[in-house]
């Protein structure tokens, strides 16, 4: 399949390794990856902060860039939820019937990365190995908007040597919420403190998720507290250990 990668604005600037990992995993599975450099942002920051009119041109740009693709894969559940939950509403608000139609036509071809692997490709074992103790943070949008259920967990369970540790209050928000963490830094910090305590209680070396936004938030505190617990996007775990794996098989 010809897969177009929408890296998302913050992954592009802050987490390029995640994008490389997505490319790595999908190419190993035999797919052709393209990257359209015209891409920018999904519009979520503007929309969720109440800059609704400002979000529309960003959305229109996204739709224009991707309208002819076979599939768009996005390593961020919150960006995908922005599209699924709000794009049609935004286009309707703008009174642009063509944009509404274009969004409706494009939405079924948009996938979150882990969802693409399991639901679209039917793959759970990508042949990775990752000899670390890991806990999985179920980001809000992955659970309550995309309803990913245990998809990420199923992918992690197939990773060789990965010791997956359950976490308390798995589905409670880490307190990031985009600009929420800037507008309400104290409440956000208190939420983060609870989440970090739960991460530390698992004894994991690495906390993973399908969203780098939550992980950036969590790592912000984990690093400040000098905990030595790292964070890694699930794509980076799934891209790990293949060379040795192939060597062992051969």
């Amino acid at each position: 399949m010809r897969v177009s990668l929408f890296i998302t604005c913050y992954n592009d600037a802050l987490f390029p390794e995640t994008g490389k990992a997505v490319v790595n995993v999908l190419e190993r599975l035999g797919h052709r990856i393209e990257f359209r450099p015209e891409q920018t942002c999904c519009g979520q920051m503007h929309w969720n902060t109440g800059y609704l009119r400002e979000a529309v041109p960003v959305i229109r740009h996204f739709v224009r860039v991707y309208q002819d693709v076979e599939a768009v894969v996005i390593p961020s559940s919150s960006c995908v939820s922005m599209m699924r939950d709000h794009y049609i509403k935004a286009a309707e608000m703008d009174g642009d019937a063509k944009l509404v139609a274009d969004v409706e036509a494009l939405l079924p071809r948009i996938y979150e990365f882990s969802e693409f692997l399991v639901r679209k490709l039917g793959v759970e074992d990508v042949g990775a190995s990752y000899p670390h103790r890991v806990t999985y943070h179920a980001s809000c949008h992955s659970v309550r908007s995309l309803h990913l259920g245990d998809i990420p967990i199923r992918l992690l369970r197939q990773v060789r040597d990965l010791d997956l540790q359950p976490i308390q209050n798995a589905q409670e928000c880490c307190g990031f919420g985009g600009t929420f963490s800037i507008k309400n830094p104290d409440v956000s910090s208190a939420m983060l403190a609870d989440k970090v305590r739960n991460v530390l209680n698992t004894g994991a070396e690495v906390c993973t998720a399908v969203d780098n936004s939550c992980l950036m938030h969590l790592y912000g505190s984990l690093h400040r507290q000098r905990t030595f617990v790292r964070t890694a996007h699930i794509a980076e775990i799934l891209a790990s250990g293949h060379v040795e794996e192939q060597g062992a098989r051969a």
Binding site: P37, T40, M45, P57, H86, S181, V187, A190, L192
Partner: protein, 489 residues
């Protein structure tokens, strides 16, 4: 439509009020403990029902349908309630409602009234108004009594004293009920409250209640409660005055079938409330001799006119969204500076105030979606929060200060960058260099200026790597437009 007139809430912005409350570790502990217990009970009794999602859908449809035909159902309620011997009063705002109720109480020459927990009474500031006119309201709900005796404010609309623990209640009763030797077992405290209140039900002739449901096809009303104090107030006094928001009507008695399953499960984690009172008008020799319903608008009609936000009025006040909310868990209810706290309060309060007060409340959410997931009438609270944020932004942009605020300038700048990838790519390159003064030796940003400063108070930010993904792709991959061959090597 006039605004809500309230004097007893400060209306500080949420971040500021929350900062104070976060420092009160006892309150935080009480709130987290209590919401945790209710939430666990709720999850158990909801999981028992195979048709829970159908019940939610039915509840949402009944409420949405009623709101679309609210005029019809309210008129029908008035007609049937009047026929059954009740008196219906229409109050367009809080002042109206306070005047109507004061007049009714004065007609009885009552100096005291007993009250069942009612949030609409809090909404219109009824107690202060009655006291100012020489009438003593006595709260009979245990939690409301605790609030009243402690001169406190409710922090939750199902469990108003959720922020107070047993030891604190014992201290309060020792002091206010003059019971220095009271024990600290729950029974000791409820015994004290019972003794204190029982005499009042028998003596006081006027009761004031809220209402869970107005029933259009019978003209009846329904109140559900856990303690039985409500049943006492509904049956013992001569006169009953119920103050109810206009949105609380349901078309028919049969509709209670849905809500009497979803409300108790969502509110207190019970399959059924211990006391479910439904009544219709007056009956000689049985219950109150006079029954009045005050139908309160107080800012509700304009919400009805807003297609996006109308669903706010579907609320049946179960408070499940408070119990599940990670923001509420940290702050408790007082940070919302409003009768209605939590996620539903964050959308209801600013709207009841025509978006002139409580404007920070739509931002008091990380949009985690937990509230929508538990809502028994499927109010998409995150969607309404965003809609209201949109209104706040438009209001701000209409002022000079708002237009030139850092937030607006930042957002306009970001929109400019996101409109064209070459601008974004340039901004990335500038950022990679420009961030250097902020980056510590360890490769992290530990301090950021202005509105970003709150972020770095508790968090480090990894510096932007030297190469963005798009730069990597352009260098490494763009020359091979079809990508590497799969499984190369």
């Amino acid at each position: 439509m006039t605004e809500v007139h309230e004097t007893h809430w400060n209306r500080r912005d949420f971040p500021e009020a929350a900062r104070d409350l976060l420092q009160n570790s006892q309150t935080r502990k009480n709130v987290q403990n209590a919401t945790g217990i209710i939430q666990a009970k709720r999850n158990n009794v909801v999981a028992e029902l195979p048709d829970w999602q159908d019940l939610r859908e039915a509840g949402a449809q009944i409420r949405a349908h009623t709101l679309r035909h609210l005029d019809h159902y309210l008129m029908q309620f008035e007609e049937n309630c009047t026929r059954a011997g009740g008196h219906v009063h229409w109050a367009s705002d809080a002042e109206d409602a306070r005047r109507i109720i004061l007049d009714l109480v004065r007609q009885q020459q009552a100096e005291e009234v007993v009250k069942i927990k009612t949030m609409t009474s809090e909404e219109i500031g009824l107690n202060a108004h009655l006291e100012a006119h020489g009438i003593q309201p006595i709260e009979t709900d245990l939690a409301e009594l605790i609030i009243q005796l402690g001169k406190d404010r409710p922090s939750h609309f199902v469990v108003p004293a959720l922020h107070v623990n047993r030891a604190q209640i014992r201290e309060l009763f020792q002091r206010e009920m003059h019971l220095p030797d009271i024990g600290d077992r729950p029974e000791d405290l409820t015994d004290a409250a019972r003794t204190y209140l029982r005499e009042k039900y028998l003596r006081i002739k006027v009761a004031i209640s809220g209402g869970n449901f107005l029933i259009a096809d019978t003209g009846g009303m329904c109140i559900v409660e856990s303690e039985g104090n409500g049943r006492m107030c509904l049956t013992l006094p001569d006169v009953l005055i119920s103050i109810v928001g206009i949105e609380k009507v349901v078309p028919s008695y049969r509709d209670l079938e849905v809500f009497l399953q979803t409300l108790p499960r969502s509110a207190t984690g019970e399959r059924m409330n211990p006391y479910n009172s439904t009544w219709c008008g007056v009956h000689p020799g049985d219950g109150p001799k006079e029954f009045h319903v005050v139908l309160l608008d107080n800012g509700r009609s304009p919400i009805l006119a807003d297609k996006e936000a109308r669903q706010t009025l579907q609320c049946i006040r179960c408070a499940a969204c408070l119990n599940v909310c990670p923001v509420y868990h940290q702050t408790g209810g007082h940070a919302y500076e409003s009768v209605y706290a939590g996620p539903i309060g964050a959308i209801l309060t600013p709207q009841l105030n025509s978006m002139k007060e409580g404007r920070s409340l739509p931002y008091a959410s990380s949009l985690c979606g937990a509230c929508y997931e538990v809502c028994p009438v499927k109010i998409n609270i995150p969607e309404v929060l965003i809609h209201l944020r949109g209104k706040v932004v438009q209001q701000d942009q209409a002022t000079l200060a708002g237009k030139f605020s850092l937030w607006n300038i930042g957002m306009q700048a970001a929109a400019f960058l996101f409109a064209d990838s070459s601008r974004l790519a340039l901004a990335e390159r500038i950022g990679q260099v420009g961030q250097k003064p902020l980056v510590s030796k360890n490769g992290f940003i530990e301090w950021m200026p202005l509105m970003l400063s709150g972020w770095t108070q508790t968090r480090d930010l990894r510096a932007m790597p030297a190469q963005s993904f798009r730069q990597w792709w352009a260098t490494e991959r763009a020359s091979q437009p079809n990508g590497k061959q799969p499984n190369a090597g």
